[in-house]
Amino acid sequence: MRGKPLILLLAAALVALVGAVVIAIVGDRLAGEHALTAPARSAALIERGAYLARLGDCEACHSIPGKPAFSGGLRMQTPIGAIYTTNITPDEADGIGRLSVADFDRALRYGVANGHSLYPAMPFTSYYNTKPEDVQALYAYFRYGVTPAHVPNRMSEIPFPLSMRWPLTYWRWFFAARPVPFSAPANEDAALAQGAYFVDGLGHCGECHTPRNAFMQLTAITRSGGPRYLRGAVIETYFAPSLRSDGPGSLQDWSEEELTQFLRTGANSRGIVFGSMSDVIIHSTQHMTETDAKATAHYLKSLDAEGTAELPYVYNLGTEQLLRKGDASKEGAFVYLNSCAACHRPDGRGYERVFPALAGNPVVEAQNADSVVSIILRGSQTPRTVQTPAQFTMPGFAWRLSDIQVMQVANFVRSSWGNRGPDVTLGEVTQLRSQAH
């Protein structure tokens, strides 16, 4: 009777599997707040919802060029295949026109919709803290403020069996935050609370700026989560820098005013936005009220407020003095002179809000140099905002510079003018060049 234990084992595994699936399905059905009431259809509430939608940057994923707003269709690559964002206009057939406010809340904060768990590409892992009144405002906007669009959702390209959703339920249970609406600690200053609510929640800054573990879980989701919160993370070929004040490569030398200006225009005297953060500025943070932007800056500056052992950045004249005298002997200096100095200047200071300074720029100083190398290779374009209509483009230099030259000039800018960024290796450059954007 040799086979019997094996058959029993397989049967038990099958039962466990079916059980797991059933538990997941039931769990999804049961998820959510059931006490939410439908909001009144008021212009003020819809406007508030529109504003919150900007804060949450729903448009970044749910709107694509050439299609009606919020009708979805953005292709997002995951490790197991591509998925497409959904139509969240109030269209009854293709959109969310039939959703109740509870359904909406469930999707937004629990990550459950249509009876199954959502891929955490939808950042319910950050939106979880949205207060009930704001959920209602968002619902009012998406039900009554957005124009219905008859655009069917596209099927994901994930093959079966990987396309089964029930494992996501377990991911959600283990790795997502408990969907508890935000409430500020007692006696907290209003600006700090407001900033925390946004940054931890709708702003979903951590989705890019907080490192994840092997399970793709954010390693911290609020300031009490410790020094990993918003300390910087790799996003495709870039490194989203630290939003803390924890040493070189962070915002420790930025004032709240500078940070506020950055949120509203994408630029200040210290640097200019690049990569996918440009879109965030354009679609989301440039539309923040002055109060909300200031609160956000205030909150970010409160991280590591107790201080850090790291010294502030100090500009060093040495580099520029050598270049002025005709000394380009430092490795990478000649590449810098030939490709970079025209805009970023031999003194590394750039031109404020036109070409970013490299001297003292946290992106340049960060431990992780992915952004520096990617920008050298592919260039960058500043965002057009209401306050800053001019757009400046840095061309890419992949065609002009060899891997060695890219490495040399990256190391040159990271160690000149007082910058303290460690060297990059040739392998890192080769790797980043080969990764298509």
């Binding site: 030939n338 490709s339 025209a342 805009c343 031109y351 404020e352 809000r353 036109v354 070409f355 374009q381 057009r384 306050q387 800053t388 209509p389 001019a390 757009q391 400046f392 483009t393 061309p395 002009r400």
Partner: protein, 593 residues
């Protein structure tokens, strides 16, 4: 012959999307009009078209002229006198023609002047000062119907839009120490400070001072610092890269429509820009008192009609005149009768250059330069700043020092008598390249009865339409003017103590030579004036013939000046724009009775 397809009417159509096209696009879209801008050339922007380092290519942009109007598609014809047969301007030489979005406003030098108050009432001024007989009878100069004082706020505004760098010479009537003492009173200082003078300009400044002249930084639409203009558009600063005229600026510093105005127009839903749209005719209704729109040929060769209530002709001086002639708007000028106004008073500029050749320990570094920034000038001999009573000519010249760059194919200066090839040439370029500098005289050409524009009877563009014909040669007045100014330039250069110097000067007997670059400051043909008997447009740039047609550009100049024209024509455009906003758009009709 198929009828052109008629498009949906719009409120305004703009022909040519360069400087004045952009200025009017902003004005009209500000006022809520539905506007279509038609540009026959391609879309152009700093990125990708002027990107570093690819823009730093002398052969492509400085010699072949990839940013210019392709002559193969359309050119002009030239003859010296009415008795000659005109032949085509087959290769670029004397002037370069713009093309594409931004037009020549992309690849100009950025010298931004206002002209002096007397330049706007030149005939009256000369007659008052020197008597009625001072102006020869064949010289057809006339007054503008608008004064420097009326235009001043608009000069000021455009300078701010461009982030012009310079230092005031006359601030609200008080002469200032470091600027141009001859300039008309300005209401405000320049928006950005001047860049330091390049070495050649420094030598010029010292030498000028020795001779008692007051030099000053050339007003430059190359902003010297990062600057935000009144429209909220930010500009980059100039780094004297040496690739200025003929090139687009990669630093967002040289003012162009792209760097100063177009960013705020980018998202306007009531503006549509169509490139590859070649306007062939402005249409009128049967009464010939109203423009009804334009005919244009699109990129696919389709003929289309764009109806519009308001037509803005901003296609550059040459093409403005050509389109009026092709459209039959106004009577063409006939030099034998003096009748007709379209094409009348074509004028130009005459230039001379004194080159200074220094010893090999004098490091001129000619490659460090810009079209205007870093250059120095004196204005003593321009306009009517000095007493002309014994000189026997009208007009004058600005004298400015420094090369705009050191591009070796086009800007190599060698002493006269240097071999043009061989070992001696090879040695000479090494010896002189880094140690030579030019001092340039840029002088006004007056307007004359026998210098005009018309349609060519023989040659055609790629669509089979007649080319514009230029009938032009120098007059004695200009030879005298240039000789006088050049002698002053020579004095200054002598004082700069070079090892040797040489002057290139046109003399009587030297005909207008289309092979040699003078300037691209061609003017006239649709001149501004006080009544329909002496002009094509009124003081608001409005056509006397068709009140809903406005014409912008140096075609308005009744005669030329020694200065570069852009500041003046922009001032006229803004002056008109203000009237359009306040009066015309509320109640369309003739603005001057």
């Amino acid at each position: 012959m198929t009828t052109p397809r008629k498009l949906k009417p719009v409120d305004a159509v703009i022909i040519g999307y360069g400087w004045t096209g952009a200025i009017l696009a902003k004005t009209l879209t500000d006022a809520g009009l539905q506007v279509v801008a038609l540009e026959r050339g391609p879309a152009r922007d700093t990125s990708p078209d002027f990107e570093y380092p690819r823009i730093a290519d002398e052969l492509r942009y400085g010699i072949r002229g990839d940013l210019w109007q392709p002559l193969a598609a359309e050119t002009v014809t030239v003859r010296h006198t009415v008795n000659d047969t005109a032949v085509p301007y087959r290769k670029y030489g004397s002037f370069v023609l713009g093309n594409g979005v931004g037009g020549a406003g992309v690849h100009w030098n950025g010298q931004l002047w206002r002209a002096s108050p007397e330049d706007f009432r030149l005939r009256s001024h000369i007659e008052q000062r020197y008597g009625k007989h001072f102006i020869p009878s064949e010289m057809t100069i006339q007054d503008y119907p608008v004064s420097f004082e009326e235009l001043e706020p608009h000069f000021d505004h455009f300078e701010k839009v461009c982030g012009v760098s310079g230092v005031a010479g006359n601030l609200r009537g008080t002469v200032q120490p470091h600027g141009n003492p001859f300039e008309g009173p300005r209401s405000d200082e320049f928006p950005t400070p001047p860049l330091p003078a390049i070495y050649a300009a420094q030598l010029f400044e010292k030498a000028s001072a020795q001779l008692g002249y007051r030099s000053f930084p050339v007003p430059a639409a190359n902003s010297s610092v990062a600057f935000t203009n009144p429209y909220g558009v930010r500009l980059g600063p100039c780094n004297l890269c040496g690739y200025c005229e003929r090139f687009g600026c990669f630093l967002y510093s040289k003012a162009s429509p792209q760097t100063t105005i177009l960013p705020i127009l980018a998202a306007r839903p009531n503006l549509e820009v169509r490139t590859g749209a070649y306007v062939t005719r402005i249409l009128q209704d049967s009464s010939k008192k109203r423009a009804t729109g334009v005919i244009y040929i699109d990129e696919n060769g389709q003929e289309l009609e764009q109806p519009a209530d308001l037509v803005i002709l901003s296609a550059f001086q040459m093409h403005n005149v050509r389109l009026l002639l092709l459209s039959g708007i106004g009577a063409p000028y006939d030099p034998s009768t003096g009748q007709g106004l379209v094409g009348k008073n074509y004028a130009y500029q005459m230039c001379a250059v004194t080159s200074a050749f220094f010893a090999e320990d004098v490091h001129i570094n000619p490659f460090i330069g810009a079209g205007a920034a870093g250059l120095s000038a004196i204005d003593e001999f321009n306009s009517d700043h000095n007493d002309h009573s014994k000189l026997g000519f009208v007009g004058g010249a600005v004298i400015f020092a420094g090369a705009t760059g050191g591009r070796p194919i086009d800007q190599m200066l060698l002493p006269p008598g240097t071999a043009r090839w061989g070992r001696a040439w090879k040695a000479a370029v090494r010896k002189h390249y880094r140690h030579s500098a030019p001092v340039t005289v840029q002088g006004s050409v007056m307007s004359y009865r026998d210098r005009y524009l018309s349609l060519d009877p023989t040659y055609k563009d790629k669509h089979g339409l007649p080319l514009l014909r230029i009938t032009f040669d120098w007059h004695d007045n200009e030879y005298r003017m240039a000789a006088y100014a050049a002698s002053k330039a020579e004095d200054i250069v002598r004082e700069m103590r070079p090892q040797s110097q040489a002057t290139l000067l046109l003399k009587p007997g030297n005909h207008y030579d289309t092979r040699i670059y003078q300037s691209t400051h061609t003017t006239g043909g649709a001149i501004i004036g006080s009544n329909p008997a002496n002009s094509v447009i009124n003081r608001y740039s409005q056509s006397w013939e068709l009140p809903n047609l406005f014409i912008y550009g140096a075609s308005a100049f009744p005669q030329n000046v020694g200065y570069n024209p852009t500041g003046i024509l922009a001032g006229l455009a803004y002056f008109s724009a203000e009237k359009l906003k306040s009066t015309y758009l509320r109640s369309p009709g003739p603005l001057v009775s």
